[in-house]
């Protein structure tokens, strides 16, 4: 059994506090992704779990064993590094078996483990090569092979795909997910790439500035973010964040700041009903690009709102086209079908699905 528990974990380097009280309960067999901007402490957190860094305060449990003072080699973990960290003077075979040699595993067992892993990862034809003679994707596989032969209870990945080119990254992403489904071991995976987080995780921990902002499954994190940070970090292109004020005029409306055209976004009853803020309260209206589309492009539904704005910039991506426009002083992005595209400068009728709008308190960033 390899659940992982972090209880009130702090990490300080000198006077800088990198982790400020982390609590995390990871269940056996889960695929947890730690995601956040660089410097948020996610790699440090991984290093505390691996034992490569010493914990300042709090406790780490793997299984039900407190491992605060257990060195990395005795934690039953394996770590895949961002830089692969292969031993440059050893060939692939010795890179993979080095750990077993160190632990004096019998030769025959080493061979068996080596061939099993190298076949699984399709690197059995590369065993005599040195890391310098491998491509990026092959090095990545060897690094994973080195982790796999340990047969650990917990796999830790530190941004393993960020050195690969885009195509290979998607391939390897799928392979890592397959691997998890096949082995069923607990995985903790660090990345700054929110798409990787969404595609891989059974649960995502969104981190910022030494705190975990939200820990939930990908859909919840995407559809139900707890605050402005999580909402703006997850999603590409990011969620449109429109500052505005509450207006009560028969219903609940958001009046965008700096807009002079009298635009008001109606807040659907469901959101409005759990909402007590006063008129004039400053909020941020969060609209994902895919909830803004060309008017009439989708079947009519409840809580739709239509408005017109001139198009500033057109960004085709293939399946969709991004239209950039402005409300007040805020740049907004809408995701429309390519056939709905119109020339730059023309006034465009946008339709918003207000049921999917999120409201945040502008002062605290908390979801309302």
């Amino acid at each position: 059994m390899a659940s992982i528990s972090l209880n009130n974990v702090f990490k300080r380097f000198g006077s800088t506090e990198v982790l400020k009280g982390i609590d995390l309960e990871i269940e056996d067999g889960e695929f947890i992704v730690l995601v956040g901007p660089s410097g948020c402490g996610k790699s440090t957190l991984l290093n505390l779990i691996s034992g490569l860094e010493t914990i300042s305060e709090g406790e780490v449990l793997i299984g039900d064993k407190r491992v605060n003072n257990v060195p990395p080699k005795d934690r039953d973990i394996a770590l895949v590094f961002q830089s692969y960290a292969l031993y440059p003077t050893k060939n692939v075979r010795d890179n993979i078996t080095f750990g077993m040699q160190t632990r004096k595993v019998p030769e025959s067992e080493q061979q068996a483990a080596l061939s099993e892993v190298s076949e699984m990862l399709h690197i059995d034809h590369l065993l005599e090569r040195k890391p310098g003679q491998l491509s990026g994707g092959q090095r990545q596989r060897v690094a994973m092979g080195r982790a796999l032969v340990r047969k650990p209870e917990v796999f830790l990945f530190d941004e393993p795909l960020s050195n690969l080119d885009a195509k290979l990254r998607i391939e390897m992403r799928t392979e890592i997910k397959k691997l998890h489904q096949r082995l069923g071991k607990t995985i903790v995976y660090v990345t700054h790439d929110q798409i990787e987080a969404m595609t891989l995780a059974s649960r995502i921990a969104v981190m910022d500035n030494g705190h975990i902002r939200q820990f939930a499954d990908p859909t919840t994190v995407y559809e139900d973010p707890v605050d402005l940070f999580v909402a703006s970090f997850m999603g590409s292109p990011p969620m449109n964040m429109l500052p505005g004020k509450i207006l009560r005029d028969g219903g609940l409306f958001i009046e965008p700041a700096g807009d002079t055209s009298g635009l008001r976004f109606p807040v659907p009853g469901e959101i409005a009903s759990r909402f007590t803020a006063n008129e004039g309260h400053e909020v941020v209206l969060g609209l994902r690009p895919e909830t803004i589309f060309a008017a009439g492009a989708e079947l009519a539904g409840p809580d739709r709102f239509v408005f017109e704005r001139p198009i500033d910039v057109i960004e085709p991506t293939g399946p969709d086209t991004m239209l950039v426009f402005t409300i007040g002083e805020t740049e907004m992005i809408a995701r429309v079908r390519p056939q709905d595209e119109a020339p730059v400068g023309t006034s465009f009728r946008f339709e918003v699905e207000m049921a999917k709008a999120k409201l945040f308190d502008r002062a605290t960033g908390v979801r309302l």
């Binding site: 590094f81 031993y87 050893k90 080095f98 750990g99 160190t102």
Partner: protein, 297 residues
């Protein structure tokens, strides 16, 4: 008139450019000659007889080249009162230089590895202090070192000299290895730690094989320094345990009878040959090692 070379950087062409290029080469040849003339004189003189040296020109080639002076310098020339040539002192130097080079290189590597990959409080201060040793004029340490060797019972012996060279070689060997290992990714060490390897296993199995360029540079550097050392040799050894450099000095300064320049020259070349040999064998690594880390490979 287009550029003849189809690869590399595009150069301006034309008569003026060509002239400048020839001028550059002419200058380089001149410097080269200037540098090589002393060696030429040494070589030719060592192949001449004493008579020819006295009558002939310094720059002339030998009339009938002979290796007589070489065999005399090696076998029978008088160094002080002993007339066995340089041979015994050559072996003194070899016996001293091999362990001193190996020890100072190994310990320097260990220092560099510990200072960069097992960082501890005060590592930088310790490194700065060790570096300081690279800039101390060795004359300063002669007396304290003599006292230390005396207390250890190593005064006047080859072992004492080995110890002195090992200790004072550490400054540079640590510097070389520290600068090499600083460029090695910490994650390689971390990976090895997770693989269960400890301090020495990581050092010998992972780091040392990677450090080949640094090892070669350090060996060449230490070999040259220790082989060529005169000061410690003359200060800490006596008579029969003298290293080659001291013996060479004594041979050249033995002032009985006619001055045998040919023997002196042959002896000097014999004394210089091992360092030359080491450089020829390992020289390409030397240049490569000095530039190591400058460019991502």
């Amino acid at each position: 008139m287009s550029a003849a070379n189809s690869s590399g950087i595009v150069r301006a062409s034309g008569a003026g450019q060509r002239f400048l290029r020839y001028l550059l080469y002419a200058l380089l040849v001149l410097f080269c000659l200037y540098y090589l003339v002393p060696l030429y004189v040494m070589l030719t003189t060592s192949l001449k007889t004493v008579g020819e040296i006295r009558t002939g020109s310094l720059m002339a080639l030998p009339d009938a080249p002979t290796l007589g002076a070489w065999s005399k310098a090696w076998d029978t020339a008088c160094v002080g009162v002993r007339c066995d040539g340089l041979k015994p002192y050559f072996w003194n130097s070899v016996v001293m230089v091999v362990p001193a080079v190996l020890l100072s290189t190994l310990l320097g590597a260990l220092n560099g590895y510990a200072l960069t990959k097992w960082r501890f409080r005060g590592a930088n201060i310790i490194f700065a202090l060790m570096l300081f040793g690279a800039f101390i004029p060795f004359q300063v340490v002669l007396l304290p070192m003599a006292r230390t060797l005396g207390l250890l019972g190593l005064a006047g012996s080859v072992f004492g000299l080995i110890l002195v060279h090992t200790v004072y070689g550490l400054a540079f060997s640590t510097l070389f290895f520290r600068n090499f290992f600083v460029g090695v990714s910490d994650s390689i060490v971390n990976a090895a730690k997770i693989d269960g390897a400890g301090f020495f296993r990581i050092f010998f199995a992972i780091m040392m094989p990677m450090a080949l360029p640094a090892i070669v540079v350090t060996i060449i550097w230490q070999f040259t320094q220790i082989w060529n050392d005169f000061l410690f040799g003359v200060a800490f050894t006596i008579g029969d345990s003298n290293p080659l450099t001291v013996a060479l000095n004594n041979l050249v300064n033995t002032s009985t009878g006619v001055k045998e320049y040919n023997v002196d020259m042959a002896a000097a070349i014999i004394a210089a040959l091992p360092t030359l040999l080491v450089y020829i064998i390992a020289g390409k690594y030397f240049v490569r090692g000095l530039a190591a880390g400058a460019v991502k490979e």
